[in-house]
Amino acid sequence: MSSKGDCARRVEMISVEDPGLVIVGASLAGLTCAQSLRAEGYTKKITLIGAERHLPYNRPPLSKQVLAGKWQAAQTNIDSAEKFAELGLDFFIDEDAQELNIASKEVRTSKRTLAFEDLIIATGASVRRLPGTETMSRVHVLRTIDDALGLREALVGIKSAVVVGAGVLGSEVISALSEYGIHATVIDRMATPQLPLTGGHFASRVNDLFIEHGVITKYGVDIISVTEQETGITFDLSDGSKVSGEIAVVAIGCIPNVDFLANSGLDISNGVLCDSNGLAAPHIYAVGDVARWHNPVTGKSLRLENQTSAIEQGLAVGKFIATGESSPTTHPFFWSEIFGNKILMLGNLEADIPLTIVHGSPSDNRFVAATISNGVTTGIVGWNMPREFRQSRAMMEA
């Protein structure tokens, strides 16, 4: 796809030597940068390239509405082709960046070499695979729309599945399996399930949901070996036991897509290290899942893998490039739906501070809880209480 018609006209208006801006990675973060640049008055050329063959789409519904069979693939699209055309982008899908040369300000792609004045790295993350299972057809992962459609198809008619990883994605997959009446076993090397940003406070709640829904749990074990048979897949575990299912879903996290930056000189240990404006080097920015921004409030540099951070970083970088203005640091926000429970999380709950119940009651399965340390609220979770959660957000601003 391309919005060539409009772009050709636009490009004529700017000087031939001006290479403009290149955005690598055409998903939520990259697209938000382009929108923000235009909204903030950036008129130079913007080239957006993305490795996938699809128009940008939302990933959160993949493990929720799409896996549950409630949505068709097209419903995940972020915007229509017409909306992209309005932004006046040179937009190319199915093209990936392969090498960055900062000195010459060029990025080599699978199709050509692009010169840039400014570069935004928005290449996100790739799913982490379980070594040895890469080619096993009964072992699934979930990161792209194609993964989601493939997994949904594989669920038809099966009765059992093994999920590796009891994080938020694994938990969402387990609840989808349960809706299909598929019996799940979950394996994790940690001792409990994990929700992001919650300091372990909800581990036992999530585990209770697993138990209530008949999920077999294998925590604190390592996988010794995996074998694929004609009818299923078997895991040998470090406690001497074996677990099997007709298929397996591996949800053990993601790895930032930084391969093309290997010789660039940038710090790419756990994502592209950036300052609090998203600058990794002069004229080089990174946003979204691939980026590790410095947070001046906490003093830490963290890679945040969620929609809101991708959007907020995209908005901030667009504004910074177009106007030179910085944006305030925001709190990370995440949501999930596990066995029908709507969970919203803001900030970072601290493990060693007990929860304060702000609204509702945990025994009614509807509450808002926070961790408050020395009068400062560090994180808030809403459990089936979205409106009260929104009202409580003011606590974080105080």
Binding site: N58, P60, Q65, T308, F333, W335, K342
Partner: protein
């Protein structure tokens, strides 16, 4: 300008009601409720901001 919301996509984050409370509210389940689908000119900028910030991309603007 006309606003459309997709309540099937909405996850009740409330970003919209936070930045544009005159246009968006939330029902008891937290799902977005449109107070008006044709905001007056002075509210178009905040409506656009809400659409950009919505983490579920559940808000669409038709010019």
């Amino acid at each position: 300008m006309k606003i459309r919301v997709d309540r099937d996509a909405c996850i009740g984050a409330g970003q919209c009601a936070l930045v544009a409370g005159s246009i968006f509210d939330q029902d008891d389940d937290g799902l977005v409720v449109l107070l008006t689908d044709t905001p007056s000119d002075e509210f178009i900028a905040v409506a656009r901001k809400a659409a950009t910030l919505c983490p579920a991309k559940a808000i669409a603007l038709e010019e």
